[in-house]
Subunit: 457 residues, 2 copies
């Protein structure tokens, strides 16, 4: 069996859904031309290390450090790993956990978990959730990984103050370092205002560095994602190999060979000519549901930009990413997708082989209405529903891209994440925006401090 | 403190965000006129019992049955309650669980859970998830509540066959009825093809009835939602009282007094005149996150409709509902909401009082960058971020409706759900579609059976 994910764009072509909603050969030709020149720019940026995400998987020193650190903390036998982080500091590792650890992982016994800790990702400041976590995770049995590239993220800092207070009381100041790992940007010297660097020095704690040329939403293959992955016993080498495999495919400039560019082209035409304001990511697999959530940030924050065209006019660009889940959302969103406005470009992800097919037993043979289920498997039902949805969408003239996973493994999930990163970088060029900044959210930080009663800072 | 949720539409008015993106006094006047006549139609429908959801809270006999049944099953001391259901059979009760049970509920000890069972909602047919559930929930310690109004839902039936097989092996056929509660439509006689009625007879199991005039997405206050709620020890009387309180407000036809109609009017103008193709529901509360998910189905499936205008022309209507979570999604979606296309109408929900404010300790006083956090509370930070987001959206000219919860309780959550149901019924009239059907998804069922290899049925 091939280890490669397969991307099929035929359902998004005009031959499938007509020229008003599908990409025509002319569209593809024109996109290929734009992509040809943008590829050169991005390749140059990569060479100059302006965008570090492309080459993270080659950083063997960091990988070794991650593995060694994880092994050394594993000796303490922690019951819990708690990640303090939000946005890009949380979504990538959450996607990896959902994809690669068993369902209901935190409910399993230590033995069933392979001796690895439970995982709690604190990506909000809901006081009820946070205090519930503090009760569930006694500090002495817990490793806290605090993640913030700037070190100054309000949500993460407030969490950290609570955790440090609890840790100092429980284990004493000198032992805090046995329960704390910091992941943040590099130090620019002793006067660096990054609060996490202060914390690192105050407790002599281990710190991982997020490279300055890698933004939060592109950071899953830095220690931001890799260290929790290693602590939970995931196949980090498989992740790295998956990145390498996809990078090899993404070095081609041709849309036929480069799935990231093919997807970028279709999303660009969808946005630009076909009125597809929404990009839906719909995995038919519980394990992949948080890959869709990770994509939501990547796509929204990278492309949702105001662009000044001249002194007075501006354009607002960006597709709204939507996470859906097959088959669950067939009973929630599909009515809208089939009959509502044809304003969506839908990516359907399917999985060829689940861990267990789960045969449906031939119980109650006299009961009608279930003949087609008995003796089949739940995996087959999942795949039949996926095919049915793709078929019905095509019949209704709605464009669909299919992404097929031979299996959900570290290797295939990393391919998907890496592909979407390359796609997003290219889409930024096509949409004419900077895919790597997020200027608008600064205003929220200012207002939040104001409402917290802070005047001076 | 008032027990009422408060709805504030000022942020969606032209006085806040201008006439291109906000609702003008003229818009409101025109909507009020349309709503005035639609109100008469809906009131007549209600009186004729065409739409049963309005009066469910008055059904004392069902409530008594639900409570008595829950009490009788509680005596068995089940460790787990497993709901088999999808779409409207799962989303309402999931919203109630997230809102009203403590965070990480399934990780708590039996004592911490107040003696109530853990809860697993099986709303997908992912074989890996389902087999993990079967391992975690030994049949002899588990009560299964299978929910399907038609009784023929493929996903739910396939799950049920697996469960019945496991139950028969574990406890014997005669005792299956001690582990099974069926919730389905009423019987139309011995020849009713509803498979769940066959199962009910085969095991002599308890069955609750979903009234025929209540669709799945409007069924949370039938035994679909109420029985699991009662099994988990929720305040079902509070839910009923919350419905009654909101019904009293929704009997007014004036937009100033009826929050459901005010919201319907704004969403209608948003859709019709302001180009708001997307309706975002963004609670600043982990507890309310699945209320937003429940709303996704209600809004999408009710309004996402093709409408034949005459023999040849048709229009496609329906706003795409999007679930977001504050503050988490500030670090994921807000860049897009602030600078991307102004195609969204955003509802922000805030909670005045959390269970615990969670004071932020004054640890590490020498560390800079956190002065505004120390000595404050996490609840205050949550609320400051909520205000900051609403403020920034207004500055950016994006329309916002605010919904404020004094506290998250059975009473307030029920008000919210009931309000959204009334709003949706009215929106159906304004959008000119039947809010109570879902014709398009039938095609999926046909195709699924085809792909499962079923020819005859």
């Amino acid at each position: 069996m091939s280890l490669d994910i397969r991307i099929n764009i035929s359902g998004a072509k005009s031959s499938a859904v007509g020229p008003d909603h599908g990409v025509t050969p002319l569209d593809l030709k024109e996109s290929a031309r734009l992509i040809g020149s943008a590829h050169g720019v991005l390749a140059e940026d990569r060479k100059r290390k302006r965008h570090g995400f492309y080459d993270l998987y080659k950083d063997k020193a960091t990988l070794t450090d991650v593995k060694r650190t994880a092994a050394s903390f594993a000796r303490f036998g922690f019951e819990n790993l708690v990640v303090l982080g939000i946005g890009g500091s949380a979504l990538g590792m959450t996607a990896l956990v959902s994809a690669l650890k068993p369902p209901y992982y935190n409910l399993l016994s230590r033995e069933q978990r392979g001796g690895h800790p439970r995982i709690f990702v604190m990506d909000n400041v809901d006081p009820d959730t946070f205090s519930a976590m503090l009760k569930l995770c006694p500090p002495e049995k817990t490793l806290f990984n605090v993640i913030s590239k700037s070190g100054g993220t309000a949500e993460t800092l407030s969490q950290l103050l609570l955790v440090l207070d609890a840790l100092e009381s429980a284990v004493g100041k000198a032992r805090v370092k046995n329960h704390l790992v910091i992941t943040t940007g590099p130090s620019t010297g002793r006067k660096d205002p990054n609060p996490l660097l202060f914390v690192q020095r105050a407790y002599d704690a281990k710190a991982f560095v997020v490279p300055p040329n890698v933004g939060g939403r592109f950071s899953v293959f830095t220690p931001v994602g890799l260290f929790p992955a290693a602590m939970l016993g995931m196949d980090v080498d498989g992740l790295i190999a998956g990145c390498a495999a996809m990078d090899a495919r993404c070095k081609h400039v041709s849309l036929a060979e480069n799935p990231a560019y093919a997807r970028a082209a279709i999303h660009y035409v969808g946005w630009n000519r076909l009125g597809k304001a929404i990009s839906v990511m719909m995995p038919y697999s519980d394990a992949l549901r948080d890959v869709a959530d990770w994509y939501r940030q990547l796509w929204a924050e990278s492309l949702g930009k105001q662009r000044i065209l001249d002194g007075r006019a501006w354009s607002e660009s960006g597709q709204t990413p939507v996470k859906a889940l097959g088959v669950t959302d067939q009973h929630s969103q599909l009515q809208l997708y089939l009959e509502g406005p044809n304003d969506k470009l839908i990516t359907i992800m399917d999985v060829k082989q689940f861990r267990e097919p789960l045969p449906i037993p031939k119980v109650l043979p006299e009961m009608g209405g279930a003949e087609y289920l008995r003796g089949s498997t739940m995996a087959k039902l999942m795949n039949a529903e996926c095919k049915a949805t793709a078929g019905a969408l095509r019949e209704a003239g709605r464009p669909v891209i299919s992404v097929s996973f031979p299996k959900v493994t570290a290797h295939t999930v990393a391919q998907m994440l890496y592909m979407l990163e390359v796609e997003t970088a290219m889409a930024g060029r096509l949409f004419g925006v900077d895919a790597f900044d997020q200027p608008a959210v600064e205003r929220i930080k200012v207002l939040t401090r104001e409402f917290m009663g802070q005047k001076g800072e």
